[in-house]
């Protein structure tokens, strides 16, 4: 990474070339149009300056063909750029189902990450090259935003909900991570590094980290400790829905069918009244204030793992 004068950011994800292609097309278009207009004004200013011997006549101050022409031309150009940007955006929205799930917590003023195996990192994240990675993000306090310029990705981290950012790195190396949403005193210190490694190196690296229970195991322990299993367990007396196999599948609720994604699970735990599973009584208590953001992520990981055994459809 060279110091001094930089003009181009690193380009290290599958998104980067796509975004750059549109970006530089826009640079070319904006540059051409801007310079054309500037040139036009300069030429007029020189040719028609007062006392210059130029051909003039009393202009009519309007020209319908001109006006129609440029109005439709701008509309068409705008439509093309819009469609291009929107098409890529929609395509990038879809997270590959085989993505490696990393959990991330943002708080004033640090990033905490946990790998599926339970390995923890602060202000740093190691990921394998060539594999889709999705970071499931939660905030403990205010809004933050996870921004990795070299990947051309950014996602706000909003308290009270779960958001996701995904990418597939294409180059090994160290790339900057920023918090892009102003979050208070040390906002500019809320930075870190994403380290992209070859998949083998990544596996080695994981092994070398302090061994902790995996996210799902931690979630399972919580599931018992918090008494969820008392209702959701197979031998329970209270009638509560079976959680195995629901993840990423449509579930029927009293207000309509929704997909049981991370946000749905979160809501079920914090605001059980928001979506009541169809055919059940709304007896589940809210765990709002009893579980931290990190614990929520562990619970979600556990419930997700209950579905992994039988192939998550997507």
């Amino acid at each position: 990474m060279n110091e001094g004068i930089r003009i181009f950011p690193d380009s290290a994800s599958t998104f980067a070339p796509q975004v750059d292609l549109l970006f530089f097309t826009l640079v070319a278009f904006a540059g051409a149009l801007g310079l054309f207009l500037t040139g036009l004004v300069i030429v007029y200013a020189a040719r028609y300056r007062r006392n210059a011997p130029a051909a003039r006549h009393r202009a009519r101050g309007r020209s319908l063909p001109f006006e129609i022409a440029w109005t439709s031309a701008t509309t068409i150009v705008a439509a093309i750029i819009f469609a291009w940007g929107a098409a890529l955006f929609l395509r990038d929205e879809r997270i590959p189902s085989d993505a490696l799930v990393v959990n991330g917590i943002a708080k004033q003023w640090m990033w905490k990450f946990r790998h599926p195996g339970g390995q923890r990192e602060i202000n740093a994240l190691h990921v394998p090259r060539g594999e889709p990675v999705v970071v499931r993000l939660g905030s403990q306090d205010v809004i933050h935003s996870m921004f990795v310029p070299a990947f051309r990705v950014k996602q706000d981290v909003v308290p009270g909900r779960s958001t996701e950012l995904w990418f597939e790195a294409t180059k090994t190396g160290k790339f900057r991570l920023f918090c892009a949403e102003y979050c208070g005193t040390e906002h500019s210190k809320m930075t870190g590094w994403i380290t992209v490694m070859e998949p083998e190196d990544y596996a080695d690296w994981l092994d070398r980290q302090a061994q902790a229970p995996s996210m799902a195991e931690e979630g399972e322990a919580l599931f018992r400790a918090l008494g969820c299993s008392g209702c959701h367990g197979a031998s329970s007396e209270i009638r509560a829905p079976e959680l195995a196999g629901i993840f990423s599948r449509p579930v029927a609720t009293e207000t309509g069918t929704v997909t049981a994604d991370a946000t749905y699970i979160r809501d079920s735990i914090l605001q059980p009244d928001k979506h009541v599973a169809a055919g059940y009584r709304a007896v589940m208590p809210s765990f709002d204030g009893l579980v931290s953001e990190a614990e929520l992520q562990a619970l979600v990981a556990y419930i997700r793992s209950l579905s992994l055994d039988e192939e998550v459809p997507q």
Binding site: L22, A45, R56, L88, P159, G160, C183, S188
Partner: protein
Amino acid sequence: MTDAVTGKAPDTGSYLGEKHGPRAWLLSFDHKRIAWLYLLALTAFFFIGGAMAVMMRLELATAEGDLVSDDTYNRLFSIHGIIMIWFFLVPSIPATLGNFLLPLMIGARDLALPRLNLASWYVFMGGSLFTLFAVLMGGVDTGWTFYTPYSSIYSNSYVSAAAFGVFIVGFSSIMTGINFIVTIHRLRATGLTWFRLPIFVWTMYATALVMVLATPVLAASLILIVAERVLGLGVFDPALGGDPLLFQHLFWFYSHPAVYIMILPGMGVVSEILPCFSRQPLFGYKAVALSSMAIAVFGFLVWGHHMFVSGQSAYAGILFSLFSFLVAVPSAIKVFSWSLTLRRGSIRFPTPMLYALTFLFLFTFGGLAGLFLAALVVDVHLHDTYFVVAHFHYIMVGGMVTAFMGGLHFWWPKITGRMYPEFWGRIAAIATFVGFNFTFFPQYILGYLGMPRRYHSYPEEFSFWHVMSSAGAIILAVSYLMPLVYLGLSLVRGRPAPADPWEATGLEWRTSSPPPQENFDETPTVTGPAYDYINPEPEAQDKGAQHEHGQPERSP
């Protein structure tokens, strides 16, 4: 007295000479004096806000955060934004030039509601001084955007007081807006039909509509913040059962249209200056007039483009992106029309014209940058980086402030009865152009490189562009201080201005400089279109005409 047209010495019988003393100014209902009250207050705010900007640029001249602490830096950019947006840009042209010129341009004696006009100034002063007081007490560190739940729960600065002051100032906007709408509907001179109005009046009308319709939503969201902070009402903080994104929706529902409050008047000013110094009617008058209205309407449909990465649904993002591209069309129409106004003109380049051309250039490049930000995937990368900072400074400073300076010089003879020094004016205009581009062009590059905004310190690799930007800021600051000095001096030393120093066509030039208290000695009537300029070079015209008829051009 009917020789107002030929011009009289200033001060005799003018609104400036009527009555003296602070009471006569502070309690005057005369729109011209109220315009001065606003002008003085806004000038003060502009330089306070500007001083904060200079401090920030000095801090950013080095990568480490060494000049001020991080908390101080956060307060600097917050106050810079709050002052510049709400206490300068929103009222700038409407409350000063608009207040002064609107009645003159439509041939009226005053605004329709003179008392409301004076009241609006007091409300403005009350609210803005209250916020300034909060700043002196310890500052605000939420940014001008007050995003929740940071602003409502976590920040330990004087958020409630600052938000309350902004809330109050909102009422002064609404008052001005109502006043302008009523005035334009009711007080136009005989013969002054809608499509004979100068574009400046059209833009005042569009601006006033947005002020009246959007500001209440801002008021609501600010009050909700205060309610959550003070009363613990759960509105935006999820810990209290609220929704933080709700605030962003409410806030941008106002603040996006507010962007048009902050640029439409500037468009109005250059639409007056360009035809005057080209001796040509404004190209595509009707399209320009109606595009202002289109901007005002579409402006209400694009607020979600500030939230593409906030976690709002992807489909909402796509819809907002589409509308944002639509808003680009009327703006493009204006740029083309302004450029073509020069064609076949007979162009002079005094200070106002230099500012207007600077506006044209900077607004074009700021607007084109907007296309990048409206394009969804590109915005994902550029959002909340210096690219956005550069984009809106090109529009707000390069556009609006430049137009304001142009307008101030253009109408200075009318307002004060004195000419400003042309030489210094041109130097200042050129310095603005140079300083501005040095300050803000590097920020486009910084943004693309990934430099986030609102950073007190930054990685070494961004240094080069930051240093360039800081150097430019010094030139820019000087270019704004110069007019303060020479315009101030011209008040006493300037050459007396004739009624119509630019040979311009608007009604405001048909009365003496400065105008009498009742504006016109005789109520004017209008018989022709706006911008009825006649090219003063008949020989050139003849030659042009021959050329048009297909005869070979004689070599001169």
